[in-house]
């Protein structure tokens, strides 16, 4: 789910950047540092353009200046129970991985309907019920998040497709 989230970040600036363009530099630095990263809980999609940069403060003992920047950003956070669409990334006997943007979702065997089985001999390998449901790399799939886990810089989730209306989507 997407949110607009208010965030704060401290940016340190090397003295060589002190000057009229300091603010620009800070802005760039912020975008560079923050956009597209995840803190583990959510993914920062985009920093909104208004930020509030505090007065700089030289850090004692070093010549760097510290700026506290308040900003708003569009963030994306997956929730347990949320139903999401993604792209199958890789498959193996134990299940398959789905990419939903920055989120790596694993759908394990026990969360795949029993009629859909792994066929490692197919090319490419696929999970299939030998009917119209074929899950292979690149398949669009709809899944329901069962649990999420975040580490610094990475998000991970497991999901199920063992419910109604979940599973591969007809290719458009």
């Amino acid at each position: 789910m997407f949110f607009i989230h208010e965030l704060e970040r401290i940016i340190t600036l090397h003295p060589s950047f002190f000057g009229p363009n300091a603010r620009t530099y800070i802005s760039n630095q912020l975008l560079h540092d923050v956009e597209g990263t995840t803190s583990g809980a959510y993914f920062i999609v985009c920093v909104m353009d208004t930020f509030d940069i505090s007065e700089g403060r030289v850090v004692p003992g070093s010549s760097l200046a510290e700026y506290t920047v308040h900003f708003k950003a569009v963030v994306w956070k997956p929730f347990k129970g949320e139903i999401l669409d993604g792209l199958v990334d890789s498959l193996n006997e134990a299940g398959f991985h789905v990419n939903i943007g920055p989120l790596d979702v694993f759908v394990s065997k026990s969360m795949i309907p029993s009629e859909i089985r792994y066929d490692g001999n197919a090319t490419p390998p696929q999970w299939t019920d030998n009917g119209d449901q074929v899950i292979e790399r690149g398949t669009h799939i709809r899944i329901k998040i069962k649990g999420t886990r975040g580490e610094m810089g990475k998000m991970f989730a497991i999901a199920t497709m063992k419910e109604d209306y979940l599973g591969p989507l007809p290719s458009v």
Binding site: G40, K80, A94, G95, F106, S108, K109, S110, M111, I145, K146, G147, T148, R149, G150, E151, F156, I158, T160
Partner: protein, 1095 residues
């Protein structure tokens, strides 16, 4: 438990249900019955159906009434007895088909009774002797019956109980005849009826009858079980009777027979049942009866039964417990048990197969076979019985998997391969070994099935051999471990669920755990919000899909973290974060993981290629780390898999460890070595432990490329770095004769030449070029072209080309160009002409130059006089000073001593004295040590440093030069070598004079000197310390680690000497004068004071 069921009793029960007793009619009878009950009547009621029936034949109604009563009392037994009823009914049917066909209003019971009656008829007169009956005769409405009974009784008494009573009797009792008649008539009637009924009706009747019974059974089952509990006055009581242990079952069977006989004989004993509780209470049987007398009668004269000892009544409240069956723990394949007796007592075994209806199991064991090792083959064959105890009591062989090879070694004749070749199946001495495991049959009692608590280690023995590895994890352990639930598995905050008992389904959060009781705050359902206490039994942790959990506890997946994907009862399937593998674990082994907790790999504390200590004598290298096991390769190149707990500790890598290779050169960490013999494997040394080296060859696959070898079985292919290697205690450096053929001046001659200590070492230098330009440092080591300089400004040692250095006089601060220095070095030697030998020895001469620069010369002396110089020195290098003291010095001493010093040296006095003293002294000593080496020469040259010189000399052959050249004083001191001087004055001299100085002085024969000498030395020494320190500092460094001690001395020697030189050695006169002057006051005193200290 075997029940003796009384048919009549059963029937009566059913009767009650279906024949509402015409109580009105039989009111009298009832009363009578009651009274009977009160007394002893009841028993009869139960078992004497036959007698009754004979009478009943005539009055069914009465009978019913009678039956009704007991039945009510016996209600509890109803369930079990239904079956019996069925059987009886079946019989009845067969017998009285006609009657049944008639399907009169009579119930099953009636039929049964009829059956009985028939029996009676068949067997003749029913035998009755019940007093109650007799009484009843008066009560009964029909006199005939009574008469009959009476008659019977009489007959019984007279033993004339024949059915065909005496004709007279018959005549007397027309009633009896009538009875017979009546029965016949009845029969006829029934037959008629049966005949008149069509088959369908018959079927219906049958169905009705039996259908009802089924219905009845169903009804009963629906009744709350509490209603079946016995009541004190309505049900028979149970007595417990002692018997011989192990005969319980037999006795009960005997009793059954006896009761049956008695009943058949018409004298029922009034016992309703007898049973035993095998196993739980051996030595007792239980008899259910209406009164104790019945029990006594039933139990007397039964073999192995001791009714006379004691018959105890069981309280009603305890009766249900007697029959409570405890569900036996069901053994299933794969479970773990422990053996209770025999050789394998306490050993863990795995159930392989359950045979004989569960009373016996085939288990797999890790065998304890000694393969005849302890057996005396020559011993006369004795009977097996005698041997066995020995085998058991002696120390039993260790548990190991069966080894075919070992078995073949000594006892091949007992070894027979079995089965197909695929399986590793043997018969060895009559026992089966399959895949290394012993397969044995055990009876259930010989196995401990509760509280097995298999340890991971034990289980792993079974698992390890299992190809599939995984298949044991849960199924097997599940059963075994389930009982072991304890409060320890739960901590407040766990989400738990009650899955057993009345509160099944309740779930909530544990708020407290007290022993085995968990308080749960219920989260759902009607109890929501309340706190419920529950025993850990019947409790399990609850997880939901998507929960992030961590495995704790004894599971082999311990410390794995993952997300739950499936929950089945108490098994949870999770996907591990690390491997994304699905693993199944018990919920009790899981705990909610903090969301942020990273994937802490529960890998052991040992890393790949760690050197670990296994026991006192064994070390090994880790070559594989698994989750729960570690594979190691020990110093004998054997590979084993161990649990981390089997490893004593990790040995830190000693990077500076040194070993000697096949050719005597040293091996260090990371050197490339090659095996001298064998496979000629080659690799990089990863560990050196004592005389073993562990070598890794990255190109080999086996054992991760690691192999172990004795250090002297490998030869160095390439040392890691030449320079570094040379810094070590290089033997060649220690032995002058191996020294390279001299520096610039070096001639190929004799020892002097070989003296190769770079004069740069220990010098204070300034760097002229490069990034370090301008920095000052001390030369710690030097090669021909390069010097390693320890910078003053940074704690750093760098290698600098010598050309880039200028030598700085630490005192004056003057700088001397290296080239000049190098060449000039000689000069000092020259200067020391007095010490001609010095000059002669080129290298040595060099050394002196040190002295030269230090001003060993007069000038020096002059300078030396100036106390400031001293002080200067001191100031300069406090650090060095400390270092020296630190110990390098002292050792130096020691070494010197050991080195070949004359015993004189050895005398502690000196040494001791020295040690406590400042480094200067030590340095002296060191000098000695040095003396052994070439440096001494240097020394001697420079200052004659008397002491140093002496020592050195003494030890080293170099002495000669000394002898000749060195000053007398030195000489004399050197004489130390030659025991005389030393010996002569050993102690004192030594003491006072910090040796060298002292003796030298004295020897010098400067009269005044002596004292002065004394003083001087001491002071010199003392004072010297500082300088010494300064000097020392460098030296040790130069020498490098191991030698430190030695080297240290040198410098000390140098410094010390210098002073010494100043004083005495050089120009004695001048020096002397000065010294005394300078030192005069302080020194002596100091000296004196010191002396004692020394000693």
């Amino acid at each position: 438990m075997s029940n003796l069921l009384n048919h009549d009793f059963d029937d009566e029960e059913s009767d009650d249900e279906f024949n509402p007793a015409p109580e009105v009619d039989s009111g009298d009878e009832k009363g009578a019955n009651r009274s009977d009950d009160g007394q002893s009547g009841k028993p009869s009621r139960v078992s004497n159906g036959a007698a009754r029936k004979s009478r009943e034949a005539e009055d069914d109604e009465d009978d019913d009434a009678e039956d009704g009563e007991p039945k009510a009392k016996a209600g509890a037994g109803g369930d079990a007895e239904d079956d019996v009823n069925d059987d009886e009914d079946a019989e009845g049917e067969g017998e009285d088909d006609d009657e049944q066909g008639g399907a009169e209003d009579d119930d099953d019971e009636d039929e049964d009774e009829d059956e009985d009656d028939e029996e009676e008829e068949v067997s003749g007169r029913p035998r009755k002797r019940r007093r109650r009956d007799r009484r009843m005769q008066f009560i009964d409405a029909e006199a005939e019956v009574d008469d009959e009974e009476e008659e019977e009784e009489e007959g019984d008494e007279d033993d004339l109980a024949g059915d065909e009573a005496h004709p007279d009797d018959l005549a007397d009792l027309p009633a009896g005849a009538e009875t017979d008649d009546r029965r016949h008539r009845e029969l006829d009637r029934q037959r008629e009826l049966a005949a008149s009924m069509d088959a369908e009706k018959q079927a219906e009747a049958l169905r009705e009858r039996y259908g009802r019974q089924r219905r009845a059974a169903a009804d009963v089952s629906l009744q709350p079980w509490q209603t079946f509990l016995p009541e004190a006055d309505k049900d028979p009581k149970i007595w417990v009777v002692r018997c011989k242990q192990g005969k319980e079952r037999e006795i009960v069977l005997t009793l059954m027979k006896k009761l049956d006989d008695a009943k058949r004989a018409g004298k029922p004993l009034g016992v309703t049942s007898a049973f035993t509780r095998e196993g739980t209470t051996s030595g007792y049987i239980y008899v259910e009866a209406w009164n104790q007398m019945a029990v006594e009668r039933a139990t007397e004269d039964v073999q192995n039964l001791y009714p006379r000892s004691k018959i105890t009544l069981i309280p009603v409240s305890e009766m249900p417990d007697l029959l409570r069956t405890q569900k036996d723990k069901q053994l299933t394949e794969g479970m773990y048990v422990r053996i209770k007796r025999g050789l394998y007592t306490g050993d863990l075994a795995q159930v392989y197969e359950v045979v004989n209806n569960g009373s016996e199991v085939e288990v797999r064991l890790v065998p304890r076979v000694d393969y005849g090792v302890s057996e005396d083959l020559n011993a006369p064959a004795t009977d097996g019985k005698r041997k066995r105890p020995g085998g058991l009591t002696g120390n039993r062989p260790p548990a190991r998997l069966f080894s075919e090879a070992e078995a073949r070694k000594k006892m091949a004749k007992y070894l027979q391969p079995q089965g197909n070749l695929k399986r590793n199946h043997f018969n060895f001495r009559g026992k089966e070994y399959i895949d290394g495991f012993l397969h044995e049959y055990y009876k259930l009692p010989a196995l401990q099935t509760e509280n097995v608590n298999p340890t991971l280690e034990e289980v792993s023995k079974f698992v390890a051999s299992d190809e599939a590895g995984d298949n044991l994890d849960l199924g097997a352990l599940a059963q075994t471990m389930k009982q072991n639930a304890s409060g320890a598995d739960y901590i407040p905050g766990d989400t738990v669920e009650i899955y057993q008992g009345e509160q099944r389904g309740v779930w909530g959060k544990a708020v407290a755990v007290t022993g085995d009781i968990v308080s749960i705050k219920v989260m759902d359902g009607p109890l929501r919000g309340q706190t419920v206490d529950s025993s850990v039994k019947g409790l399990r942790k609850m997880f939901k899909e998507g929960d992030h959990v961590k495995v704790i506890g004894a599971s082999k997946y311990r410390d794995e973290v993952g997300m739950v994907v499936k929950v089945t009862a108490d098994r949870v399937t999770m996907i591990t974060d690390a491997t994304e593998k699905e693993v199944e674990v018990f919920s009790k082994d899981l705990r909610e993981a903090a969301d942020s907790s990273g994937m802490q790999q529960g890998i052991s504390k040992y890393d790949l290629f760690d050197l670990v200590q296994l026991d006192a004598a064994h070390v090994a290298v880790v070559i594989k780390v698994d989750r729960d096991a570690i594979r190691i390769l020990d110093q004998e190149n054997s590979v084993r898999t161990l649990l981390p707990s089997n490893i004593s500790h990790k040995i830190e890598r000693r990077r500076n460890a040194v070993a000697t290779d096949h050719e005597g050169s040293e091996i260090r960490f990371e050197d490339v070595v090659k095996e001298v013999s064998g496979e000629n494997r080659q690799g990089r040394v990863i560990h050196i432990h004592r005389s073993w080296v562990f070598v890794q060859d990255r190109n080999r696959m086996e054992n991760s490329g690691v192999f172990a070898a004795r250090s002297n079985a490998v030869t160095t292919v390439a040392a890691k770095g030449g320079a570094v290697t040379s810094a070590g205690p290089d033997l060649s450096k220690m032995n002058p004769s191996l020294q390279r053929p001299g520096g610039p001046n070096g001639g190929p001659m004799g020892p002097p030449k070989t003296m190769g200590r770079d004069k740069m070492i220990g010098k204070t230098v300034m760097i002229r070029k490069g990034v370090y330009k301008g920095l000052i440092g001390i030369v710690k080591d030097a090669t021909d072209s390069e010097a390693r300089v320890e910078l003053h400004s940074k704690n750093k040692t760098i290698a600098i080309p010598k050309e880039s250095l200028v030598v700085k006089d630490p005192i004056t601060g003057n700088t001397i160009d290296y080239s000049k220095f190098a060449s000039g070095s000689r000069r000092p030697g020259g200067m020391g002409p007095p010490q001609s030998p010095w000059g002669g020895a080129t290298p040595s001469s060099r050394v002196p130059n040190g002295a030269g620069w230090q001003g060993g010369r007069t000038p020096m002396a002059a300078r030396g006089n100036a106390t400031p110089a001293w002080s200067m020195q001191q100031d300069r290098k406090p650090a060095g000073w400390e270092r020296d003291e630190g110990g390098s010095k002292t050792p130096g001493w020691h070494r010197g001593n050991d080195g070949g010093r004359t015993p004189g040296w050895a005398d502690g006095s000196r040494t001791v004295a020295h040690r406590p003293n400042d480094g200067s002294r030590t340095s002296y000593g060191g000098a000695t040590a040095y003396g052994g080496r070439r440096p001494q020469s240097t020394w001697s040259a420079s200052s004659k440093t008397p002491a140093a010189g002496n020592h050195g000399f003494s030890s080293s052959s170099g002495g000669d030069p000394w002898a000749t050249g060195s000053r007398t004083p030195f000489h004399s001191s050197s004489s130390s070598r030659t025991p005389n001087p030393y010996n002569a004055a050993p102690t004192p001299g030594a003491l006072n004079a910090p040796t060298p100085g002292g003796p030298s002085w004295q020897n010098n024969s400067h009269a005044g000197a002596t004292p002065g000498g004394f003083d001087a030395p001491t002071p010199g020494v003392y004072a010297a310390p500082t300088p010494g320190a300064a000097a020392d500092h460098p030296t040790p460094a130069a020498y490098g680690g191991g030698r430190g001690g030695l080297s240290a001395p040198t410098p000390g020697a140098m410094d010390a000497p210098t002073p010494g030189a100043r004083y005495g050695a050089p120009t004695p006169g001048a020096g002397y004068a000065e010294t005394p002057g300078a030192w005069a006051a302080g020194t002596p005193a100091a000296a004196n004071d010191d002396d004692p200290r020394y000693e």
